[in-house]
Symmetry: C2
Subunit: 351 residues, 2 copies
């Protein structure tokens, strides 16, 4: 018994790799290998799908550099333009003033994040209309910052997928990645929570020690700011305070929004996992078997089973399947119900 228990994992892990691959089941005669020696018009020889050559594929390839750089560029252009505009009309903006350029940048940040303390308010028609313009564009930019963060998350997932495709045989590896994938939203949420707590603490201490607010008023101002509420009875009135606020307001408001976003993502992920588990553990019936049997040969192959279950989980839709089926029927030149190298050669010679 004991030797059996020791031998079993060894057998599963090492001695039977070719037919234990998660996506390869029946290792019949591999007559397909021969086609590799046939003359080929292929431009790529990589086994992973060549998604990289899709125009605008930086969003799908796992590269996060360009999009983050894009966001920073947008932000710099926006802040620059807004600061110049508010500097031009600074005499038409009333309230507690410090240094012209800092006030303009501070007013710009308070406006774009929709905090809107009201410690600085536009007094003329032109200043009011400029503020209206910059609050809408600023809102869109903040949304853009948030969605880029979401994209970053998606891209990380894509990178994991890419690695999974490169190591399809290592079941352990795939299990580890499943774990990472399952806890990703939770991990992101917890990271954001820690960062948010840190930002709140920094704001609290700053408002208490530098802006000389009472601890309760400092907390009230922190809450009022990060939620973009901004009643305006407590705000940053010193030069140092405003310099600090420019960085702190932008990071803390976005951090709180991400906190809520990841919380929602975590909940969605959990409920999707619950549904997936339910679908997988649900007992297969004869009716299920008949519905899943796409080619009606009386048996449900691995691929048919995967499609049936993923459809039930809501991961793919009938529309998705129909769209690909159209393409399949076009490619299946000899109408055999399966694509062979012959079909490809036929379609190439006819086109």
């Amino acid at each position: 018994m004991a030797t059996d228990m020791i031998r079993q994992p060894l057998l599963q892990e090492s001695s039977a790799p070719p037919d234990q691959l998660p996506i390869k089941i029946t290792p019949k005669k591999r007559r397909f290998r021969r086609c590799r020696s046939a003359p080929s018009a292929d431009t790529h020889s990589d086994f992973s799908p060549p998604v990289g050559s899709f125009p605008g594929s930086e969003r799908f390839s796992g590269e996060t550099g360009p999009s983050l750089r894009q966001v920073v560029a947008f932000l710099v252009v926006y802040l620059g333009t807004a600061t110049v505009c508010f500097s031009v009309v600074q005499n038409q903006i009333g309230g507690t003033k410090t240094v012209g350029l800092i006030d303009s940048l501070y007013f710009c940040i308070v406006t774009m994040t929709t905090v809107g303390y009201g410690d600085l308010v536009p007094k003329s028609v032109s200043a009011k209309l400029i503020a209206c313009f910059f609050v809408f564009t600023g809102m869109a930019l903040v949304g853009f910052l948030l969605s880029k963060a979401a994209n970053y998350f998606v891209e990380k997932q894509e990178a994991l997928l890419a690695r999974a495709l490169r190591l399809p045989g290592e079941a352990q590896e795939s299990r580890v990645m499943k774990e990472i994938g399952a806890n990703r939203a939770k991990y992101k949420f917890l990271t954001t929570a820690v960062f948010l707590a840190l930002l709140m603490a920094v704001g609290e201490v700053f408002l208490w020690k530098v802006e000389k607010l009472s601890p309760v008023d400092a907390f009230y101002c922190v809450c009022s700011t990060i939620t973009t509420l901004g009643y305006g009875d407590k705000s940053f009135s010193t030069l140092g305070g405003r310099v600090f606020a420019i960085i702190w307001i932008l990071t803390s408001t976005i951090c709180l929004a991400q906190f809520f976003l990841y919380l929602a993502e975590w909940k969605t992920e959990s409920s999707q996992q619950l549904l997936a588990e339910w679908v997988l553990n649900r007992r297969m019936t004869f009716v299920d078997l008949e519905v899943a049997d796409m080619d009606q040969d009386g048996a449900v192959g691995a691929a048919e089973f995967i499609i049936y279950k993923l459809k039930e989980m809501g991961k793919i839709t009938g529309e998705d399947i129909a769209q690909v089926m159209e393409e399949f029927e076009d490619l299946d030149v000899d109408h055999s119900g399966a694509l062979t190298p012959g079909d490809l050669l036929l379609s190439r010679s006819s086109s």
Copy 2:
């Protein structure tokens, strides 16, 4: 030639339905039918996936009633509690006052939407802490309202899928639904845009005629409110104005947020469609064929082709496939590489 062109569509549409079904290809011997007469422990005989029996399945079944009702219930409880709390501390809230209960409700709406004019501000420690509590919970509730709207959207999609499953043979029907699906985000965006313009116009006229602001100031106040900026130099100071504001602020701030949300959704949808088109139109190579051939029988069946293409489109991941494959290997008791009624009977007798 002419008769050929007339005959062809007829042939495709009516005379060959069984093998032209989008998900059924080779109408071989249907020996599987016989299994229906076998004794069955099935509790459901419907051909559509029995997702309805999943606990909490109201979110997946296309029923929108409960979730919307849930949101309304949450909102009523929240507004009731907040109004009572603010009424209790109303002497500790400073600013322009009208009628106690209306002011409390108005202050609650201004706080939960994070508009935060500052025309009413908490003066005591307890009032400030209550405001801090209600702005966080209010923010979460507004996010909940928004996500429920998104869920509603997803559920509509699910309902479409359900209809598609019931009519798998009608290619026309599936094409119509693909059209609806493709333009859904755009349509939602445009509807929201019209509704937002209407809300802005109503607010403009009200602030101009009832609150006696100049047209420019009214516009400035509208922009400052719907974006939740709320500088507070212009706000609702009359009793009638505040009653109006209670409804108008809540609807217009959520409407603007949805406007941005649907705009982003529309853009995502377009880029996903672009990727799907690119994946489908990309020429299949011999390497693709070999990678797609999951069971290595030298030919790529319809189901294998669908999985390969949907994976390339990013609609399913290697993790999704691996998860279902584990279940498949458990069910495939006789290790034939395909599920047959025999496998089900074997697994039932052994469990």
